[in-house]
């Protein structure tokens, strides 16, 4: 089978002595198409060539994507298993490392029961691997404690969509349709930095006159160009969205026929939003009445609109509520299930969509099945070849696993594709928990901050050394190709899980020789579930430029547009949000008088384990900083480049000051991609959303001091 996929008429540059292998970026869920350049003689990865004919991104990439290949043959790759002896890592053989893992896992389970072990996964890996993480925890280790870093990423969106629409697929429409939209209502999405290649679609629509409303405490690139920038106080989205619903109802912008036919709760919702007058909303959110009125008018009058949101509204202790109310805006306007309109949450991690659907979550099984549902357990147990009663019960969410360590319930952990020592909130507590573990195994290809705590580090491969599928932010299942063989003695995550399963005496449940075999089993495991991948094959992905789930059979065309006829709820109707206003878990006080919010920069990805090792990206952004409005800075006599000490009830840290008027004058922004003393998550608040267990990364109260 050819490794280079190109459409007739598309020209690419082929350098002599090189071959091109078609794949997608390893970082965010845009999953930009690219060809990797490989030197045919040395087998080394030497560069990147744009994939002009990939319909979602048209060859475009952000600087992370352009330089992604540089992590593959990177000099800091871990190439052999490492065992910590007297506080130092020593290289070992695989046998020695696996012996140690087997000995400790078995000992701890004998002493403390099955649930002494835990698995902490991630969604920056293929569907095949994400699927296997859940099976590995429940079948190979037999523990109920499994969860993943999606809790810090997509879980509020998932919770909100489940509640309102009944099915959680990130976007209800395919991305290229955005070009034909008349109005974007964007909340908490720093599109230019977090998903840069989406910008081309927004700008194309704007070339045709589309309007754009942006809700953000910072004047981001898209906010600057928006028709209305709603400069909201962090953490007040539920009030703002309810305020929008209020005006939409008041001014008769509701698509009454659609709502009558397709939505529940309309009367209750109308009653609820009555109190959210523009004046009341303005008082809570800090956005002027004029702006609120203008935004609602533009949105309410646009024939085709998309409501889009991202972590800004989701990483809050009311993340699920926020998602539900913003989604209700699209429902009231009758937009969901139609051309060039709908609702979308913009997935952060490469496989944030696929990785959350197939059982890495504490209470979920493949195909969006639930562990609480005996029928679901029966089906999946059947596919896995175990007895339903052998299926462990639901565990706890990612952050709560650290509580379980502190309580002495979890004694060992296997972390894969994740770096909670940087990405979890209240990191000092997390570090303490990692130290308390009797035994920690980390699979990674760089020495991450979490890996430094490990007893055993297993060398995993990068995305370019394995194949499989991912599901991009649209819900389109696409193919990642293997570009080269694993370097050194590194192994893919699925091989590592298989090896440990064998050591735990469960090898017969993991008989895989290659990735397609896992894919076949995974298709079957998802069959009949909400996220049904059964009809998707590698061949179809190549031929059809990816396939959108649900796709229940091979002759099913897939589902680019969701909810055309009915919603995923039991009665087929969407549930409009009936939710009141509630403060964030922490609000400014005399002691901590301002608001701290966190986010990404375009040059880094998640905890920075990869991007902090890429020269170009580090040249552009080597350190975190505190972004403040000059008005706030002058209260503390702070100038550009000064050092500022930020303190929250958790901890404090010192940062360089960067002044700009493009932020609210009562907020401080710090990017989160660094570890240890540079990690802003030392300061963030671990208050969890009651449904999604998402921590409130986006809002906490902070004290400012000049140092």
């Amino acid at each position: 089978m050819t490794q280079f996929i190109v459409k007739p008429g598309t020209k690419n540059l082929h350098h002599e002595g090189e071959k091109l292998i078609t794949t997608h970026c390893c970082y965010c869920a845009m999953q930009c198409g690219m060809h990797i350049r490989v030197n045919e003689k040395t087998g080394k990865v030497v560069g990147v060539e744009p994939r002009y004919d990939w319909p979602v991104t048209l060859g475009k990439m952000c600087p992370k994507g352009v330089t992604a290949y540089q992590t593959v043959d990177h000099e800091e790759r871990i190439t052999k298993p490492l065992i910590k002896k007297n506080g130092e890592f020593v290289e070992s053989s695989w046998d020695e490392a696996l012996d140690l893992i087997e000995k400790n896992f078995k000992r701890l389970q004998k002493e403390h029961g099955k649930d002494a072990l835990s698995v902490y996964g991630g969604v920056s890996m293929t569907n095949e691997k994400c699927y296997l993480v859940g099976k590995y925890a429940r079948v190979a280790l037999g523990t109920r404690f499994v969860d993943y870093n999606g809790r810090f990423c997509m879980s509020s969106a998932a919770g909100g969509f489940m509640k309102t629409l009944g099915t959680d697929r990130g976007a209800t429409l395919p991305w290229p349709e955005l070009e034909h939209t008349d109005c974007f209502f964007i909340a908490g999405w720093n599109a230019a930095e977090c998903h840069p290649t989406s910008i081309q679609w927004l700008w194309k629509a704007r070339d045709k006159g589309a309007k754009m409303i942006v809700v953000d405490p910072r004047e981001t690139q898209i906010a600057r160009l928006a028709d209305v920038h709603l400069d909201i106080k962090s953490g007040t989205d539920s009030a703002l969205a309810n305020g929008m619903l209020h005006i939409i109802v008041r001014d008769g912008y509701v698509d009454e026929a659609y709502v009558k036919e397709r939505c529940n709760n309309y009367e209750e919702m109308k009653e609820k939003v009555k109190e959210f007058t523009p004046e009341y909303t303005s008082k809570i959110t800090g956005v002027s009445v004029e702006k609120l009125e203008k935004a609602a008018k533009i949105y309410g009058q646009s024939p085709r609109s998309v409501v889009m949101f991202c972590r800004g509204i989701e990483q809050q202790s009311k993340g699920v509520d926020n998602v539900s109310i913003y989604t209700s805006m699209a429902l009231l306007r009758g937009q969901i299930g139609k051309f060039a309109s709908g609702v979308a949450t913009v997935t952060g991690q490469g496989n944030g969509q696929g990785g959350r659907e197939h059982g890495q979550k504490a209470d979920a099984l493949p195909g969006y099945r639930k562990i609480a549902d005996p029928e679901h357990v029966k089906y999946v147990a059947g596919v896995w070849g175990i007895k339903p009663e052998e299926m462990p019960k639901a565990g706890v969410s990612a952050y709560e696993m650290f509580d379980e360590i502190q309580k002495g319930n979890i004694h060992a952990m296997h972390v894969m594709c994740s770096n909670p020592a940087v990405s979890a909130p209240n990191t000092e507590y997390v570090w303490d928990s990692l130290r308390k573990l009797d035994f920690l195994v980390v699979s990674d290809f760089f020495m991450s901050e979490t890996a430094e705590f490990a007893d055993v580090v297993l060398p995993a491969t990068t995305w370019a050394e394995d194949e499989g599928t991912t599901t991009n932010l649209e819900g389109r299942v696409i193919r990642i190709r293997k570009v080269k063989d694993p370097i050194g003695e590194s192994k893919t995550d699925w091989q590592i899980m298989k090896l440990i399963a064998e050591r735990m005496g469960k090898g017969k449940f993991f008989p895989y020789e290659n990735v397609p075999q896992i894919f076949e089993e995974f298709r079957l495991a998802s069959k009949g579930g909400k996220a049904d991948y059964y009809g998707i094959t590698y061949d179809r992905i190549d031929k059809e430029d990816g396939v959108f789930w649900p796709c229940p059979s091979e002759d099913h065309p897939g589902t680019p547009t969701m909810f055309k006829e009915k919603f995923g709820t039991p009665d087929g109707k969407a549930n409009l949000a009936v939710v009141g206003w509630q403060e964030p878990a922490e609000i400014p006080t005399a002691k901590y008088p301002h608001t701290l919010t966190t986010g990404r920069v375009v040059f880094h990805y998640l905890s920075g384990t990869q991007t902090r090792r890429v020269k170009f990206l580090m040249e552009q952004c080597p350190l975190p900083y505190a972004e403040l409005h000059p008005e706030l800075a002058s209260q503390y006599n702070l100038a550009n480049g000064d050092k500022v000490k930020l303190t929250t009830p958790r901890s404090s840290m010192v940062l360089d000051v960067r002044l700009t008027k493009a932020i609210r004058n009562d907020h401080v922004f710090v990017p989160y991609h660094w570890g240890k003393e540079l990690s802003v998550n030392q300061l963030t608040n671990p208050a969890l959303d009651p449904t999604s267990r998402m921590p409130e990364f986006k809002v906490c109260a902070v004290k400012i001091e000049k140092v």
Binding site: G59, P63, I199, D207, Q221, V602, Q620, R658
Partner: protein, 180 residues
């Protein structure tokens, strides 16, 4: 080469992908030849990209006392020829856009060559290929003219009409770079 490099500054989102991509072009030795700057970060996040204009009568070449800067038949202004360049750096000061740079270690000048190994085959240069906002494009002359007319049309759709004292606001906000 019939295509045109087309810059639309207002579209730029400051991702600096064009810079990263410039380093990736064959023969660019992992050094970028373009740059991206904030207009004024204190005021806003607006950035703009700048690349070589491939001038018809290039100042860089004119001020070169050694005649080291050559222009291809299709109008691409190349980096100074190593054997001719005397390292005086006149070009770095002469260029009105600040494009040519001097590598003190290698003792040679380097500048944008419009990814000549790509553009000579009508394949877009790396910067224009990856730019996520279409701030940099590599397009046909006709397409550029159409884009210019579109801009005016959009202003009218918005209900704005140029008057004597603000008509400059209606000038299309881009540069077209002609390569031949």
């Amino acid at each position: 080469m019939k295509k045109i490099m087309y810059l639309e500054f207002e579209r730029c989102i400051g991702c600096r992908s064009c810079q990263a991509a410039c380093r990736e072009c064959g023969g660019h030795d992992a050094k970028e030849r373009n740059y991206v700057e904030y207009v004024d970060f204190l005021e806003s996040r607006q950035t703009f990209p700048m690349m070589c204009m491939q001038c018809k009568d290039p100042a860089c070449a004119r001020v070169c006392p050694a005649n080291a800067i050559q222009i291809t038949d299709d109008g691409v202004v190349l980096s100074a020829m190593e054997e001719k360049c005397i390292g005086c750096r006149n070009c770095t000061f002469g260029c009105p856009f600040g494009i040519p740079k001097f590598d003190f270690e290698e003792n040679k000048m380097y500048k944008c060559d419009m990814c000549y190994d790509r553009t000579k085959h009508d394949i877009a240069p790396m910067c224009a290929s990856v730019c996520p906002s279409d701030a940099i494009r590599f397009i046909d002359h006709d397409e550029m003219m159409e884009l210019r007319r579109k801009r005016t049309q959009l202003n009218l759709i918005e209900g704005k009409k140029p008057s004597e004292n603000n008509k400059w606001q209606y000038v299309p906000e881009f540069f077209g770079v002609y390569s031949d």
